[in-house]
């Protein structure tokens, strides 16, 4: 399905969506838990969601919920949250960048067969967020 030539970003009508380093690999890993007959359908579904997000169409809270809190910076008064592209049981955690205009970064994907967001996933998003938003990495 995937190889080295896939693009790490997509520019829609309104937003650019970027896969952080390792995001595609995490997608492949989470897809391994899905019934092999349904894998293509899951990937199609994720692509269609990213397309809609990138085109700036409104996303429902049901399929694009706010899942967790991003790291707080010193001068920041309010905490910012990250969202999840949701296609049960897969989640793609992402945030809207403050540094790169009109850009969403997809941190990583998980196979989520549990209810509550894991601290581990919040930590991975936080680490990617810091790397890009604070330290200036491209993706």
């Amino acid at each position: 399905m995937t190889d080295k030539k896939i693009q790490n970003n997509f520019e829609g009508e309104k937003f650019k969506v970027i896969h952080c380093k390792g995001a595609v690999e995490s997608y492949e890993e989470s897809l391994r838990h899905v019934d092999s007959q349904k894998r293509k359908s899951f990937t199609r579904s994720m692509i269609i969601q990213i397309q809609r997000l990138a085109d700036g169409q409104r996303m429902s809270k049901e399929n694009f919920p706010q899942e967790g809190v991003l790291p707080k910076q010193k001068e920041q008064s309010k905490t910012k949250k990250f969202n999840a592209l949701k296609r049960i049981p897969i989640r793609g955690y992402c945030w809207l960048s403050d540094v790169h205009p009109n850009t969403y970064f997809i941190s990583h994907y998980v196979y989520k067969d549990y209810g509550k967001l894991k601290d581990k996933d919040t930590a991975i998003v936080g680490k990617n967020w810091t790397r890009i938003e604070v330290n200036g990495d491209e993706r």
């Binding site: 896939i6 693009q7 790490n8 970003n9 595609v24 293509k40 969601q49 990138a54 169409q57 429902s60």
Partner: protein, 143 residues
């Protein structure tokens, strides 16, 4: 470029059936997602929508998740329950203006040529031809 390239290499060849599946799932996802956004805006939950439709909550959940096929009929029922009229746009081409003018002129001409009146004396009249059914000489010629 499409978002497909975030998961597939750029020159990946999708089969016709895969493209068809993409098109189908894109339509289903975007319609159900729009309905979910409308429900959230109207602060109507699935339970309430199920009540309005006279259906079970699981039916509504399945329809809105795309796991159950939504017919045009059930789509219309949902829109009716939410009190709005949906718009479905299909690429039906408009007749070009000059075509319309030509067809109007053609119809005018045709109507003027073929306008036929029947009078009670048995004579059929048109603008160009008059056939007198009572004209025995005419009928003799035809015979």
């Amino acid at each position: 470029m499409s978002a497909k390239n975030m998961f597939y290499k750029e020159n990946f060849n999708f089969s016709n059936s895969e493209e068809k599946a993409f098109a189908r799932e894109e339509l289903v996802y975007n319609v159900t997602e729009d309905l979910l956004v409308i429900l959230e805006d109207m602060e109507i939950n699935k339970k309430e929508l199920a009540r309005r439709l006279g259906k079970s909550r699981s039916y509504v959940s399945q329809i809105l998740s795309g796991s159950r096929n939504m017919t045009l009929g059930s789509f219309s029922d949902i829109c009716f329950a939410l009190e709005f009229k949906p718009e479905i746009k299909l690429p039906v081409q408009k007749k070009p203006e000059n075509d319309i003018q030509q067809s109007i002129e053609y119809e005018k001409k045709w109507v003027s040529q073929s306008r036929t009146t029947v009078n009670y004396s048995g004579i059929i009249r048109s603008n160009e031809n008059i056939i007198d059914r009572t004209d025995k000489i005419y009928w003799a010629k035809v015979a």
